[in-house]
Amino acid sequence: MSSVTYDHVVKRYTSDLTVVKDFNVEIADKEFMVLVGPSGCGKSTALRMLAGLETITEGQIRIGDRVVNHVAAKDRDIAMVFQSYALYPHMSVFDNMAFPLQMKKMSRSEIDKRVKQASGILGLDNFLKRKPKALSGGQRQRVALGRAIVRNPKVFLLDEPLSNLDAKLRGQTRVELQKLHRDLETTFIYVTHDQVEAMTMGDRIAIMNAGILQQVGAPGEIYDHPANLFVAGFIGTPTMNFVPVTMENGNAKASGFDVKLPKPVGADKGILGFRPEALTDRIQDDGSTLEIKVEVVERLGSDQFLYGTAGEDTITARVDPRMKVAPGDRARLGLDLRGIHLFDSQTEKALL
């Protein structure tokens, strides 16, 4: 149980290949922190530096108050679940889970107790004698979790542990992991490229792109107040609508509609962003509206997605499924002003 601090951390493989750039995050004790970003952005590298599997080029990583830059992986008291699970193929499930405890020179009876306890939590009691080869993907994943939780580590690292599971099992395991986090009361750092996992599991989310940390915050905060264009586009499905606008006396003017900005901004051009659900078929008298030419309608039962254009801009809207609309129609929709974002077209930073 410990906090983790990344202090100006840099990872450079060669002089012109920097994969993690000036990375600063403080992860509180017992927090569930999710590190999310597109493939190849350096998430795993950031995690592996903390585990001691990669050297740190610049900066400091601290676990609690202890600087671990030069501490060997085996002495960091960290548990890690690998994407491939990395189970020892020649050992039984029991021995796989007992291995880290044997490394701590724990007594046989204590090892037995802890492994049994973990296997009970994870529902592995009937598989303890089996080799990993004779297990299903989901069972292997749980053994990998078991090997990590038996140790009561200071920090728990998970690198895309669900990506080899089918959709249903992934959903279940997501919930189980959150429960596990509550029960273990340990710091969790969870790497994923799946924003749904990030949104549902994290106390806080850190979003990375191309080696640079974009924003850290609670899921709701990031969803409602994305700090820049990348975060706004990365979080949320379907993605946020982005429309280039010009500013004219307090209004943002797009090719097909106008929006009154809630407060003045010091720029005359920008990119207006609003999520599909900011559009509604219930039009308020004083609100902004826009008319879209509907091209595709998707009914999902609980939702209805409209894909179309307003002026020259493509728009996605998420409206009440009871709204009657067909491809080819023109639909007038209300735009909820609480849900609009404006980004600088050069720096891509949020302006509102």
């Binding site: 585990a51 001691g52 599997l53 060997a72 992986a73 085996k74 002495d75 960091r76 008291d77 960290i78 548990a79 890690m80 690998f82 491939s84 990395a86 020892y88 193929p89 020649h90 291995f99 880290p100 490394m103 701590k104 090997r147 140790r151």
Partner: protein, 331 residues
């Protein structure tokens, strides 16, 4: 080589160059032609035999038949009379110094020392070179002796072990070191029965270590890196990782290499033949068989030794094949 010799017998040359491919081609085409006329069901089970048959023929003609012939010879006198187990008896009398006993003892030395040291060095080098830059260059160097014929290897080491009387300049590398660095009297490495077996075995080990290193190194590289990383995070030091993760995963390969080496050790001949000709108490079974056959003109005795050797190799061979299949099955 004098190529004009080939031209003196042109018909034979033509038969070899034209005839052999023609016969093979005719066999394949003819076989396929006949198979096509078979009913559908039989075709699948007949076709493999068509392809295997030539190999079966050659193995039978040149391996199985002579082996059976050897069994018969081992029960016969020089004149061809049946004399039961007499030939075997003669090889196994007067333990520990009579008959084939010295050769059997030496083969056991070879079996144990050669196998263990080659495995040990191979494993050590594979693990160490896994962590050095220029790995492939260093490994090629170690592998180089494999490219030398065993006879040349024997000659090289004969010079390495060369003995000169104490007052003469030492031209043998080993004795030069013994005399000039350690200031001891030169040793008769190849004639002193206390060391000569080990000298021969050492030369053989030098020759084969590259083989074991290369195969074990491939097995080492086959272990996924994240297993080792997982073990590191789990708190294991490098030696523990080797003992608990790397070695067990390499075990099947170690066994295959080990049993192959056991067979090599039992078959040891060339190095002994070149370096001591089996004298001074360094005889091994294969060399004894050769001597009995060509020097003592005793085909019955030679056959008996051959059969003893064969009986010793067969169990190892079967074990080896099984293990090999187990390794393949793991992939």
């Amino acid at each position: 080589m004098d190529l004009s010799l080939l031209l003196t017998d042109v018909p034979t040359l033509v038969v070899v160059i034209v005839g052999v491919p023609a016969v093979l081609g005719a066999y394949i085409l003819g076989g396929e032609f006949l198979v096509r006329r078979l009913p559908d069901r039989a075709r699948g089970s007949v076709r493999p035999w068509i392809w295997v048959a030539p190999a079966l023929f050659f193995v039978t003609a040149f391996l199985v038949a002579p082996a059976i012939g050897t069994v018969f010879t081992s029960f016969q006198s020089h004149g061809g009379d049946w004399i039961g187990l007499t030939n075997y008896q003669r090889q196994l009398v007067d333990f520990p110094n009579g008959g084939a006993w010295i050769a059997i003892r030496n083969n056991l030395y070879w079996l144990v020392l050669y196998t263990l040291f080659v495995l040990f060095f191979g494993l050590l080098l594979a693990v160490l070179f896994d962590r050095v830059p220029y790995e492939s260059v260093v490994k090629s160097l170690i592998f180089m002796p494999m490219a030398i014929s065993a006879v040349a290897l024997g000659v090289i080491w004969k010079f390495m072990f060369w003995y000169q009387p104490a007052d003469a300049p030492q031209t043998g590398t080993l004795n030069a070191i013994v005399v000039n660095v350690f200031h001891q009297a030169p040793k008769t490495w190849l004639t002193d029965p206390n060391v000569n077996n080990f000298a021969l075995i050492a030369a053989a080990i030098w020759g084969i270590t590259g083989f074991s290193m290369v195969i074990l190194s491939a097995a080492l590289k086959g272990i996924p890196a994240d297993l080792l990383e997982a073990a590191r995070v789990d708190g294991a030091g490098e030696i523990t990782i080797f003992r608990r993760v790397i070695f067990p995963l390499m075990m099947p390969t170690v066994v295959v290499v080990g049993t192959t080496l056991v067979i090599f050790a039992l078959k040891a001949f060339d190095i002994v033949y070149v370096m001591t000709a089996g004298n001074f108490g360094t005889d091994v079974l294969a060399n004894r068989m050769y001597k009995l056959l060509y020097q003592a003109d005793n085909p019955g005795g030679a056959s008996a030794v051959a059969i003893i050797l064969l009986l010793a190799v067969i169990p190892v061979l079967i074990f080896n094949l099984r293990q090999f299949r187990a390794v393949e099955a793991r992939r």
